[in-house]
Symmetry: C2
Subunit: 205 residues, 2 copies
DNA sequence: AGGCTAGTCTGAACCTCGTTCAATGAGGTT
DNA sequence: AACCTCATTGAACGAGGTTCAGACTAGCCT
């Protein structure tokens, strides 16, 4: 028997339990009230532990938020992947639009969680964790596949550039579109913007 | 004689002087060290006034940052407008690319100031001030003009949608492009992404 | 000039946070 | 049971934005 993971001692179990509980609580709080609702004392009260206990399980509150972001990123990936799987289009343009609309939908329905994904990135110029880039890579791969069919004679390099460009574009449209319902754009207009943009980009002359 | 602005009393002058001084200091600090470098006590020390004095001149630190953002937004507008004026292209596609590259350049050279423009928006869900929308409107107008020549039979509505979509797209590309030199994209690759995107969008089949 | 009033200016004090750490206590080992 | 080890606790620390009662001016009236 390999004993690399040998003792799930009682303490370890408690630790894992607390960790999971904190992530759940933080996720709910971010979903409902946004990142600023993550306060050490409130989390401790709700998780029924001491403030210091949080720091036994996470290096700091950012660490906790990153854990939530991990979950969010995975949900996002699943939703986008599912959108194409559910409605198999043979036209790659349609696939791109479907995925983008799924992205918009996810962002609109989970605005605070989705924002947290990018807000942390900015404030702390720390090293991006592995899984972050990995998840982003998965998203990119989803985009690159239909794109390769639209532009069959792009080099690998051009394709990658286009993938980034399109992802960033859709991200930008969603970001500014969701910002401020004031002076703002209703959801279906945002959908239209994405569709028009993608149609035009992918309509080879 | 209209006396709507009748008394520039000594107190008013001091107030205006302090206000201007604070904006200068804040601008420099944001430019050099980003938004988190805006601390009441440090500002007061550097401006040689009491902490409380700041609150006589601005409602809070956000108000000060908004004042800096006002300046930044104007510079940005000027730079973008100047870019097309300097190199008068007759092809509207080229104009769009020129302006977008000017936008990228400004964002790259004044990253912290440029970020402050959008970071505040997010954190405080307050009412967007007049001039903010006005400046944004000016930017949109700059884009809409060449765009109208590319798509002469778009309705006013479609044109507006397209304008927003393109601005948001370029913004997204710049935003994600400048984020993290790590795993990142060098400036001229970002330029390429913008150019490719805009070319494809504006090449009518 | 001498006061009187309506402000401004001051900075100590208040409050809210994230984070730490000496003291406590529980788990596991002999 | 006695001992050692390490997790856990929560009061205390430091940093930051904001406030406010008192000190202080500047302009104005007599």
């Amino acid at each position: 028997m390999p004993d690399t993971a040998k003792k799930p001692s009682k303490a370890d179990l408690r630790r894992e339990d607390l960790r999971a509980r904190l992530i759940d609580i933080a996720e709910t709080r971010i979903r409902d009230e946004g990142l600023p609702a993550i306060k050490a004392r409130e989390l401790a009260r709700e998780a029924d532990c001491a403030v210091g206990a949080i720091y036994n399980v996470f290096p700091d509150l950012n660490g906790l938020i990153m854990a939530v972001n991990g979950r969010t990123f995975q949900s996002l990936g699943k939703v986008v992947a599912a959108s194409v799987a559910a409605a198999p289009q043979n036209a790659p343009q349609a696939e791109l639009i479907t995925m983008s609309h799924a992205y918009l939908r996810f962002a609109a329905e989970n605005t605070n969680l989705w924002r947290a994904l990018f807000d942390l990135e900015m404030s702390t110029e720390m090293d991006v964790p592995q899984w972050y880039l990995a998840e982003l890579g998965k998203l990119f791969a989803l985009i690159a596949a239909p794109l390769a069919r639209v532009f069959p004679n792009y080099t690998r390099h051009e394709l990658e550039l286009m993938t980034r460009a399109l992802f960033s574009s859709v991200h930008g449209i969603v970001l500014l579109g969701l910002q401020k319902r004031i002076s703002g754009v209703p959801l279906d207009k945002i959908e239209d913007m994405i569709a028009i943009l993608l149609s035009n980009v992918t309509s080879q002359a």
